[in-house]
């Protein structure tokens, strides 16, 4: 079961990824800091190692030089301590040698010494082994002693750790062999504490780390500002372009300086200028044209009214005319009427084009509205012997719509259905759900093919120009119906198959201004239960449709 915590974590990750993807600045700074860190780490690591090596080497050379001198002076002292008689006071010599060694070794950090007898010798006398105070003999390893005992005149050295109170210091032990007359071979060990070197090194490393961190920080900060400087104008351009796209045509970018950014700004502004000019020009043209259509339509109305009245006066008196004149009066009458309808449609279209349409919303019962429209079309349907049926599972409430427009859409769809219905039944479906209301007008007539379907909402398009029309369509009906649906925030859809018929479906939001989701009626709608209206030649198609549900 998903707990809320991983969800929160995932959303945080998601947010970070989003920021990463969207912020060029963040990406640039992060990448710069990352590479700087790698570079600085490599460089300071190299510096640290090479400084350490140098420091130790220098110190070792110094120590070896001292030890060599100390060994030489001790040996000389022992040698010169032999009296004329060939005897030697080894203890006194030892004392003196130790003093001499101390004088020679003045290394910082101090040194300690040990004079040890090489084991396994038989001599006239033995000299006491000597150790500096506090020297822990364990720092002198057996291997070193073995090497020194071999007495080949070479100084041997070994890096060791010197335990010192609470800490362990790095140290260096240098061993050499001494030949004490009459007392045999002794080994001189000088133990140097090189803590000072370590301290210097620590300090250097600490400085390097701090310096590196400061450097990385500085570079990150510099990158941030540089990127901001460079991206700022780009971002401004992007925002301005966005506003331009939203239709705020007077948006411009400030032009400063002579650099590439200023060039971008100038080019951008030139583009915006030209865009604005062209759009304004087009809008003006379009306005002039719409105005012209509207004016022409209005100007036509007054003479048309006179013609209409005159025609009607003549038409009413046609009984008194000769048959030819009477027929002329009839033709005048019907064609003036047709002209009127066209003019009205043209005006309605020009109003939509000009965006001068206002909804006159009132609570309307859709089912009642459909019933009224069905009554209106019944005489025509009877003429074509098309049965009219209403299937209304829903829609029995007052919806906020412009009843005049919905009625007009419905009349248009019903007129089309009668015209193309081939005398077969016409079924009107009305249904509603929580968000939307829908009316579908289904005929079982000719139907349309793909190419016709594509053009069905075009202005002045007719499915078959040669077909006789009874409803006096102007070719603008469906274009106006589409606009009527859209002005409600709804839509008009069509389904059609050649030979199976056509279905137009009007879907409107139940409350004004709300979005419609799925239409409450399927397209084409489910067949009425008795199945009597099923076209007899499409069983496979029906099965497919039922499979979908």
């Amino acid at each position: 079961m998903p707990a809320p915590v991983p969800y929160g974590w995932r959303s945080t990750v998601g947010r970070l990824r989003h920021v990463w993807r969207t912020s060029l600045q963040l990406r640039t700074v992060a990448i710069t800091v990352l590479f700087t860190t790698v570079g600085v780490t490599l460089i300071s690591g190299y510096m640290s190692i090479s400084i350490a090596t140098n420091l130790y080497d220098a110190r070792k050379q110094q120590v070896l030089a001292e030890a060599r001198q100390a060994t030489a002076s001790a040996q000389q002292l022992f040698d010169s301590s032999v009296t004329q008689t060939g005897t030697i006071d080894v203890e006194a010599a030892n004392q003196a040698a130790q003093l001499a060694i101390s004088n020679v070794t003045a290394s910082p950090g101090g040194s300690q010494l040990a004079i040890l007898r090489t084991p396994g010798q038989v001599t006239q006398q033995t000299m006491t082994a000597r150790l500096s105070m506090g020297l822990d003999l364990s720092v002198i390893s057996e291997e070193l002693r073995d090497q020194v005992a071999a007495d080949d005149g070479v100084l041997y050295s070994q890096a060791v750790s010197i335990p010192d109170e609470e800490r362990i210091d790095p140290g260096l032990v240098v061993g050499s062999a001494l030949e004490v007359p009459t007392a045999g071979q002794y080994e001189l060990y000088l133990v140097y504490n090189v803590r000072d070197v370590q301290e210097t090194l620590d300090f250097v490393q600490q400085t390097l780390v701090i310096g590196s961190l400061l450097l990385i920080g500085t570079i990150g900060l510099v990158t941030y500002f540089v990127v901001r400087l460079a991206i700022g104008p780009v971002r401004l351009a992007a925002e301005t372009a966005e506003r331009l796209a939203d239709g705020q045509l007077d948006q411009r970018i400030p032009e400063r300086g002579e650099d590439v950014i200023a060039t971008l700004a100038r080019s951008f502004n030139r583009m915006a200028d030209s865009l604005q000019r062209q759009i304004t020009q087009l809008a003006d043209l379009s306005r002039v044209q719409q105005r012209f259509v509207s004016d022409v339509s209005h100007e036509l109305r007054t003479p048309l009214t006179t013609i209409r009245l005159a025609g009607d006066v003549l038409y009413d008196q046609r009984d008194q005319f000769t048959p030819t004149t009477a027929r002329t009066a009839e033709l005048l009458h019907t064609q003036v009427e047709r002209f009127e309808v066209m003019l009205a449609d043209l005006l309605e279209m020009s109003r939509y084009d000009a965006g001068a349409v206002e909804l006159d919303v009132e609570p309307t019962n859709l089912v009642r509205l459909v019933e009224e429209s069905l009554e209106g079309i019944r005489p025509l349907a009877d003429e074509r012997s098309s049965e009219l049926r209403l299937v209304a599972p829903g829609g029995y409430f007052e919806a906020d719509v412009d009843a005049r427009r919905v009625r007009r859409v419905l009349q248009n769809l019903l007129g089309n259905a009668v015209d193309h219905g081939e005398g077969k039944p016409i079924v009107v479906h009305v249904d509603s759900d929580a968000d939307a209301i829908a009316i579908a007008v289904r005929d079982y007539g000719l139907g349309m093919d793909e190419a016709q379907l594509e053009r069905v909402f075009d202005r002045f398009w007719r499915a078959d120009p040669s077909r006789q029309r009874t409803t006096g369509g102007t070719g603008l009906g469906l274009a106006i119906a589409t606009e009527d649906a859209q002005v409600h925030g709804g839509q008009l859809d069509v389904w059609s198959r050649p030979g199976e018929g056509t279905c137009f479906r009007l879907t409107l939001p139940r409350r004004r201004g709300e979005a419609i989701g799925r239409s409450p009626i399927d397209l084409p709608p489910a067949e009425p239960l008795d199945g009597a209206l099923q076209p007899d030649d499409a069983p496979g198609d029906r099965a497919a449709r039922e499979g979908e549900r």
Partner: protein, 228 residues
């Protein structure tokens, strides 16, 4: 007595044609071709009804309508080439009783004129109460506390229709049929605008009506009558 109709239209051919149509129906017609002349002719002729084109040179139809309404409740039917919402509403708000959109058919025009000229239907009662108003049916008078309120014949008909059936809720369509004589779907803005005009005259507080009540989603009904 033949009704006298003043036709105001700057298109002389249309005016003449309307004259022929109305003459055939037995009306007496007079013509004016601009706004100023129409006001003079109105004062001189005292017509029973005015057919008024909205688009006139000089003083336009809406101004003429408003000027006539200042002095008289004579029925005014607008002729308009525009069915656009704003034009029609402007015309109705300036006091026109009804409107006809060009091109209209002669029967429609005559029907509109006859409705406006017909006398108020006979009523068995002489006085009615609606809210705190007293309606004198035969005298065509409406009073509040003996103070007369002047209404146009149309406004009187509208108020009377509501007052005659105080318990009934009238849809806009019912009122269109009863008061305007429309037997088919017509423009419900006619009702809305005239209810507003009526309220402005008879309500003490038009924003909070007590005489012509709105029934949301249905229409209007008369306010309960109260004794003065």
């Amino acid at each position: 007595m033949t009704a006298r109709i003043l036709v105001v239209d700057d298109d002389t051919a249309l005016a003449e044609m309307i004259g022929i149509v109305l003459g055939a129906e037995g009306f007496e017609t007079h013509f004016s071709y601009d706004g100023e002349a129409a006001l003079d002719a109105f004062a001189e002729l005292k017509p029973d009804l005015v057919l008024l084109d909205l688009m006139l040179p000089g003083l336009d139809g809406i101004a003429v309508c408003a000027r006539i309404r200042e002095t008289s409740g004579t029925p005014i039917i607008m002729l308009t080439a525009k069915s656009d919402a704003s034009d029609v509403v402007d015309g109705l708000e300036s006091g026109a009783d009804d409107y006809v959109v060009k091109p209209f058919n002669p029967k429609e025009l005559v029907a509109r004129i006859r409705t406006r000229l017909r006398p108020t239907p006979d009523s068995s009662v002489e006085t009615l109460r609606i809210g705190d108003l007293l309606i004198n049916v035969t005298g065509h008078e409406v009073t509040r506390d003996a103070q007369q309120i002047s209404l146009t014949p149309l406004e009187f008909d509208l108020l009377l229709a509501l007052a005659l059936k105080p318990n009934q809720v009238f849809t806009r369509e019912m009122l269109l049929e009863q008061v305007w004589g429309y037997h088919y779907k017509a423009d419900t803005r006619l009702v809305n605008v005239h209810v507003q005009r009526l309220r402005a005259k008879v309500e003490l507080d038009p924003d909070n009506p007590a005489i012509v009540m709105t029934v949301r989603g249905v229409g209007y009904r008369a306010g309960a009558s109260t004794s003065p």
